[in-house]
C-alpha cells in the first residue's frame, strides 16, 4: 500500500486553483486565481517550483499545449490533478473540517 500523501497549505491552494480552472489551468491562470480568490500573490518562480514538487509527488500531471502568438510562439504547460492528488486533497480538507467542527471562528466564542 502506498504511503499517504500529505499536502502543505500552499499545495492545497494550488490544487484547489487547478480544480477551479479545469482545462485552462497553467502558470498564468493559476497565479491569477490564487491572487484573486486566495489573496495570495505568488511569484512565477515559487509557483513553478511548487508545481514541480507536486508533479514529482504524483499529485498533478502536466501536458504541453499548442504554441500561441500572444506568448511569443511558446506553448502552455497545462496541469491537472491526478486521482492520488484528489484523494490527498480530500483527506487534507476533511482533516481541516474535523478540526473546525464545533468551532465558530467568525462569530461567537472563538471570533
Amino acid at each position: 500500500m502506498a504511503p499517504a500523501l500529505y499536502l502543505g497549505e500552499f499545495e492545497q491552494l494550488i490544487l484547489l486553483a487547478i480544480l477551479r480552472l479545469g482545462d485552462d489551468a497553467y502558470g498564468v491562470t493559476i497565479r491569477a486565481e490564487l491572487a484573486v480568490r486566495a489573496e495570495r500573490p505568488v511569484s512565477p518562480g515559487a509557483l513553478y517550483t511548487a508545481l514541480q514538487r507536486l508533479e514529482a509527488k504524483g499529485v498533478i500531471t502536466s501536458r504541453m499545449g499548442d504554441p500561441t502568438p500572444q506568448r511569443g510562439g511558446r506553448a502552455k504547460r497545462h496541469v491537472a490533478v491526478t486521482a492520488p492528488g484528489m484523494r490527498a486533497l480530500r483527506r487534507s480538507l476533511q482533516a481541516y473540517q474535523r478540526l473546525l467542527d464545533g468551532l465558530d471562528l467568525f462569530r461567537g466564542a472563538h471570533a
Binding site: 497553467y26 502558470g27 498564468v28 511569484s43 512565477p44 518562480g45 515559487a46 513553478y48 517550483t49 514541480q52 514538487r53 504541453m64 504554441p67 500561441t68 500572444q70 506568448r71 511569443g72 511558446r74 506553448a75 502552455k76 504547460r77
Partner: protein, 192 residues
Amino acid sequence: MRDIDRAQRLLGLFTSADCAEALAGDLIEERRSRGVFWFWRHVLGTVLAVSRSAVIDAPVRTLSLVAAGCALFATPAFAGVAAVSLFPQLLGTLVSWIVLSFFWWGGGLWAGASLVTIAQRRGMAACVVLALVGEALFIGLGVIGILQHAVSTRFAAFYAIALMAPAPLLAGGAIARSRAITCTSHRPEQTR
C-alpha cells in the same frame, strides 16, 4: 536575439526544455501588462527559486556538489598564487595579475563546466549557490580589508580578480549545459 529567446535559454539551463518554454511563455504573456523590468526580475527570480529548490529538495547532494566545486576551484586558485609567488620580482606587476586572473578565472570556468558535467541540472544550481557564497565571502573580505585600512593597489587588484571569479564559474556551467542541451536535441528520436 530577442528578450524571450534569451530568457528561455537562461531558464533552459536550470530546467527541462519544455518547462523553460512554458515558463518563458508565461512570463512574456504577463510582460505586456507589467513591463520589461518585471519580466527580467522574475526570470532571475525563477532561476534563484529553482536553485533554492534544488538545495531544499536534495540538500546533501547539492551541497556535496558545492563542496566539489570548492575543491575544483581551489586547485587552480592555489596554483595561481603559487605560480605568482615563484617569481617574487614580478609581484604587483601587470604580468602577475594576468597570471593570477588566468588561473582564477580559468579555474572558475573549469569548476563550473565540471559541476554541470557531473550533474546536469543540479550542477547549474550548485554553480549559482557557489557563486553567491563566493561573492558573499569576497565582499566580506573586502569590507574587512576596508575597515582595517588595508586597502592598497595590490589589495584592490587581487580583490577585483577574486570578485569577478564567480562570473566565469557561471559561464563555465552555462557553456557545459548548453552543449549538453544541443547534444540531446540533435540525438535521433529513438535513442532519447
